[in-house]
Amino acid sequence: MAVAEIRIELKKGVADPEGQNTKKALELLGFEGISSVRSMKFFQVELDLEGDEAVQACEEMCRKLLANPVIQSYSVQLK
């Protein structure tokens, strides 16, 4: 049994309107000195596998559904 944390982020150079709009909203609320806000997705997956097998299964999930390789990169970390 493993708990995997999967992080999906936008590749470098891909504009991030959600992050930019969130930054603007935070500044409107009075927060100062924010140099950037980036949006990303985070999934926690519990699965009946261990170690490398669990990581490989999660990477397969990223390739098949969770990430679009044109705009997104992924990373998998076991907790």
Partner: protein, 277 residues
Amino acid sequence: MENNGVKRMRPEEIKVCVLRIEGTNCEEETHRAFAAVGCSPEMVHLNQLTGHGAASARRSLEDYDALAFPGGFSAGDYVRAGAIFAARAKSALGKEIKDFVVAEKPVIGICNGFQILVELGLLPATDGISDVPTAALFTNDSGRFECRPTYLRNESRGKCIFTKKIGRGRTVMFPSAHAEGKLMSADRRFVDRLEDNDQVVFRYVSPDGRSAGYPWNPNGSASDIAGICNPAGNVLGLMPHPERALDAYTAPDWTRRHKKEGDGLAVFRSMVESLSP
């Protein structure tokens, strides 16, 4: 009738599969669009094609002559717009859908349906059908849902079977309603290659037919592209909704234009003509 090995059909013989899953919500309009041009459309849930449910409800994709992925949303558009519909369709029906496309049967994806076709690797498919997406329909530059009439110029030089009844260079009005419609690719020559292959079908323009940026282009799409087809021309994906422009009276300027019908009908009529000239 056979003509050059291609079966010629009467419009009512054309069976159209309007495919939906949980959360699809433009299947009624899409069904109506195909019925309005004389076809025999049917709303089919993905599960009906994968052997689930009662025997009387089961269907086979190969029994249909055309396939439509309607717009709206699907599976809550969690993960990414259209991603869950595409992943489920691919795992359950990947080969059947691929065979359908390779047989050059007509396939249209509207809005969420376009996002699904891109996620399936069926568009742009410039180098053939791909296992992973080679393009993305990403969040609008404005960062919000953009919903209004949009003007589109027919850019097809003749390959796309869905625009043959719309003159090349003619401007039509279909409504747009999406938050993720910005067509992108990692390939620097993406737009050039689409142009070379006659795969650019619609571009967003101003009402007088010129390239004019936001707000006429609602999402910041590369080179103002609103719709593309595959290299063979039988698969069309577009963000705006032709099925919401069937009647003259739903156009915002209907009192001034005096048209008999909405601009969207021509898309469906073109498909019928390609099967039953």
